[in-house]
């Protein structure tokens, strides 16, 4: 019974919305056949470690913040996705508020940086496929859940929220309709505080719950195409 089987690994796609762009965190690989190529952070699961733990470990190595939205995405297991050995990788996606700490490369990778998801380079392994799946999932999910909370700080203006809801599907929304609909969902609540800035002060809101909740749809059907 001394058979060999593929090992389990995790990879994590970390998203943030910076200004008007959706970005993902990439790391530059130091060793092996993909040396010098960008990839999503990841690694083998340690014996006795739960999958989510492994994903959180990889995530924490890059950005030392807790209270991160983390969701399992898909498992990729083609034998040739990793030329070194057959590895079955379960991918996760994580959402960070734009304000979160800068990424650190750690000892494992040469560099780390944020990339606009619209202009990702050719990645190592099958990671461009992973990127596509992650983006698709995020787009689908923002339309009928409160996942957006993961991309925003505790308090935010409706304008900031709308920008998240526009950047991810990549199309503009009517401001009046957006405000009405998002308030009707009950996902967010007014804080009765105001943010002063360069212009008219904006009312601050917070998500009622900072864990996944379903809601009625915010986009129309045709917006999901």
């Amino acid at each position: 019974m001394r058979q060999r089987h593929p090992w389990a690994a995790v990879d994590v796609v970390i998203f943030r919305v910076d200004g008007r762009a959706l970005e993902a965190l990439l790391v530059k690989i130091k060793h092996g056949p993909f040396r010098g190529r960008w990839a999503f952070p990841g690694g083998l699961v340690v014996l006795g470690e739960a999958l989510d733990e492994a994903a959180r470990r990889e995530l924490f190595e890059k950005t030392p913040i807790h209270d991160v939205y983390l969701e399992q995405l898909f498992t990729f297991g083609d034998p040739d996705r990793n030329p070194a050995r057959h590895v079955v990788s379960t991918t996760y996606f994580a959402l960070l508020p734009a304000s979160a700490a800068a990424p650190r490369a750690g000892t494992k990778y040469a560099e780390a940086g944020w990339f606009n998801v619209k202009r990702l380079p050719v990645l190592a392994y099958d990671h461009n496929r992973i990127a596509a799946v992650a983006l698709e999932r995020l787009r689908a999910k923002i339309a009928y859940t409160n996942v957006a909370y993961g991309l925003l700080p505790r308090a935010f203006t409706l304008g900031e929220l709308q920008r998240v809801y526009e950047v991810i599907p990549g199309r503009p929304l009517d401001r009046r309709n957006f405000r009405r609909k998002i308030l009707e969902t009950g996902l967010i609540k007014p804080l009765h505080r105001y943010r002063r800035g360069a212009h008219r002060p904006a009312a601050l809101y917070a998500f009622r719950e900072r864990r996944l909740a379903a809601a009625r749809r915010i986009f129309r059907w045709s917006d999901l195409g």
Copy 2:
């Protein structure tokens, strides 16, 4: 670098709609700590084998038909889900038409049989959790895709189709509204043939495409619970 890591495995939840019940295929385990308990068929992934291949292999051992709808569900990786060794299992769900061949136990299992998903026994491993996730996914997916094709023969009546759409969420639908909506989606096409039976002959239909396609929603929001 002679580290040990969890192995990859697959488990497959096979559904069918038999008359008025949604059923899943269970096998009885022959050996090990869960001997005598029911579980979904599954096993370790062989080195060099793609995940889907492994799932298809497990599926084919039970019901020798091709052209089966198969979709990856979720990956479970808690270290204690299998007391023997840390195994990370990627689960799949498969859909069979009711007419499909009877299940065979094979050599690996003591027995195989169909169980109403509403009355599943206590299963081995974390398989009751898997059942819950599979059911949730199937319910969500039938509402906005043509997955139902996997549960029906090539040609079917609108009555048969409606029964599938009622059994899975577990609530009745208005016949007139159902027929109008399902025809509006364009997912199915009339065959201009009729099935004769005990009663008035019914027009036969077929799915326009026998691969996953999205459609506008067939249920109302509140029907998704």
